[in-house]
């Protein structure tokens, strides 16, 4: 089910009077709303889960919301819904000294960068909004587009903390993009395609007798590449331990210091959307995408969606686990991790994958 399938379906149904342009616009709107729904639901659920996970790791119990005067449902399950409602009705403050147009635009640009990456994700064998040949490259390209919004936010706020945060995050994302991209290239070399569906299909079968034939298990270099990609991915989402762009103890809140209400919520939404994208790429490239981990067992287009989402949720949980375990890196440590460790290792990996392929293939 792609956008072109949707357009055909609209044209052949009673909505045929819309013609091709009308059907195109309708299909775009429908798929856009579907993605936005996925992003919003993921953010709401993930925030709740994150609060619970962080609480449990610190021997607390997190939001509970029972008892008189508190109405967030049993176990506090409605806490994030209540928070989202609060953000919707909150006063929208734009500082007098801010660059008004850029200030308003920035959160949406940042969100757009995360949002349009969802188009190329292969949710299952048949379900992906657009199945095109440069899928992986496209996602990498548009997700680094979000950095523009981030710098705009920092610049337009007219606040030293915001600008510091924006500059730091630009430096960070540019540094970590390189090891991430190079470890993905290692897999692209093996597959010979950037198409997300092709990469997933290349991981069918069993390796070493019992392990699924995912790229993480296929050879030792891709195994290492997965971890490099994942570490760099965590850094690209600006999450702890790589959260120096919004380091609370140093920069108040970094690039979104001056934002409040719904605009701030968009920053939050795009952080969680970015997490989803990074985990989705890791899933597709290294963990077999919609492939079932048990060979033919529970395989198929519908189960595929379950496996795909399940793997992403697992990786998102691992990201939360990282966040509530590791302390924040210093700026120089952050740079040295990327340039002195991840980058050489990923180059070595790329070389190793080539040699491995030459000898075994």
């Amino acid at each position: 089910m792609t956008i072109s399938w949707l357009i055909d379906w609209v044209n052949n149904s009673w909505l045929g009077f819309l013609g091709v342009p009308g059907a195109f616009i309708l299909a775009i709107i429908v798929s856009g709303l579907a993605i936005f729904g996925l992003v919003a639901v993921h953010a709401i659920v993930a925030v709740y889960v994150e609060r619970k996970v962080s609480a449990f790791m610190q021997d607390r119990i997190g939001p509970m919301g029972q008892g008189p005067g508190l109405h967030a449902g049993k176990w506090g399950v409605l806490q994030t819904v209540a928070d989202a409602l609060k953000l919707l009705v909150k006063e929208d403050i734009i500082p007098a000294a801010a660059d008004r147009k850029l200030f308003i635009m920035a959160p949406f640009i940042l969100f757009l960068g995360a949002f349009i990456g969802f188009i190329a994700l292969p949710f299952s064998e048949t379900l992906s909004l657009a199945n095109f040949n440069v899928g992986l490259f496209y996602i990498l390209a548009v997700s680094s587009f979000g950095i523009v919004g981030l710098i705009l936010a920092g610049w337009a706020s007219n606040n030293k903390w915001s600008l510091y945060g924006a500059m730091r995050s630009a430096a960070q994302i540019i540094s970590y993009e390189i090891p991430a991209a190079i470890s993905l290239i290692a897999v692209v070399m093996l597959v010979g395609s950037l198409n997300m569906q092709d990469i997933t299909r290349a991981q069918t079968g069993i390796v070493l007798g019992f392990l699924p034939n995912w790229f993480i298990f296929q050879n030792p270099f891709t195994f290492l590449a997965f971890f490099i990609y994942f570490i760099a991915g965590v850094a690209e989402t600006n999450r702890t331990p790589f959260d120096i762009p919004e380091a609370e103890s140093e920069l108040v809140a970094g690039f979104h210091t001056e934002y409040s209400g719904m605009r701030w919520a968009f920053f939050f939404l795009s952080e969680y959307a970015n997490m989803f994208i990074v985990c989705a790429i890791a899933t597709v490239v290294f963990l077999g995408g919609w492939q079932s981990p048990f060979g033919e067992f529970l395989a198929g287009p519908y189960w595929g969606l379950l496996w795909f989402m399940g793997k992403i949720i697992f990786l998102v949980l691992v990201m939360m686990w990282f966040r509530w375990t590791f302390p924040r890196l210093r700026v120089d440590q952050l740079m040295s991790v990327s340039w002195k460790f991840l980058l050489p290792i990923s180059f070595f990996n790329l070389f190793g994958v080539g040699i491995w392929e030459l000898l075994s293939g």
């Binding site: 996970v53 609480a55 449990f56 790791m57 610190q58 021997d59 607390r60 119990i61 509970m64 029972q66 008892g67 008189p68 005067g69 686990w321 990282f322 509530w324 375990t325 590791f326 460790f341």
Partner: protein
């Protein structure tokens, strides 16, 4: 060069160690949890031993408490109160009706229909307790801990709940006591 790999090895092992610690805490939350869901759960009150008897305190001004059975409605406490936080309404009882005596064997002549103390206004000066002829108004705890234990939490969800209403006579009782039924009416009702 060896230093470089040693660094990587050390980083990876210590990071895994940290992940292990948090994961164990994540799994054992039921055992390790330190948060108390306060209104539903409470810590047990510790048995205190501060070296001398509770009764030997001079006074602990915790909260005003009234033994309404002993109150004669003399209004001494109302007059003593510097902030007027005590409100008493009384009804005169007909001569032949007996509404009992206090624990000091004083005959009660007034029916106390309202005895409200607004503890949000109270200044804890303790001045109301001295004039009381029946010792029926007192601060809880300390020397009075035998009469009434200290209300340690002494907190409410609503400010109006801080107005303590001690009078326990109902409208019906007031009707019955102040207007003694005629003999004829009683049979009709019966």
């Amino acid at each position: 060069m060896i230093h470089y790999f040693k660094n990587i090895f050390e980083t990876v092992t210590t990071l895994l160690q940290g992940l292990g610690i948090t994961f164990v805490h994540l799994l054992r939350i039921r055992k390790n949890n330190v948060t108390l869901q306060y209104p539903e759960e409470r810590w047990p009150q510790p048995q205190r031993n501060i070296g001398f008897e509770h009764n030997s305190y001079n006074v602990i001004r915790s909260r005003l408490e009234v033994d309404i059975e002993d109150c004669t409605g003399c209004m001494q406490c109302v007059r003593a109160c510097p902030v007027d936080c005590i409100k008493i309404d009384t009804v005169k009882v007909p001569k032949d009706t007996d509404i009992g005596t206090t624990s000091n064997d004083t005959k009660k002549r007034l029916l106390v229909t309202r005895f409200d103390i607004d503890m949000s206004e109270c200044c804890f000066c303790n001045l109301c307790t001295y004039p009381c002829p029946e010792d029926c108004i007192y601060m809880t705890g300390g020397p009075n801990s035998k009469k009434h234990p200290i209300d340690y939490e002494y907190s409410t969800y609503d400010r109006s709940d801080l107005i303590f209403r001690f009078a326990n006579v109902t409208e019906e009782q007031i009707e019955r006591i102040t207007k003694p039924a005629q003999p004829g009416e009683q049979t009709n009702n019966g």
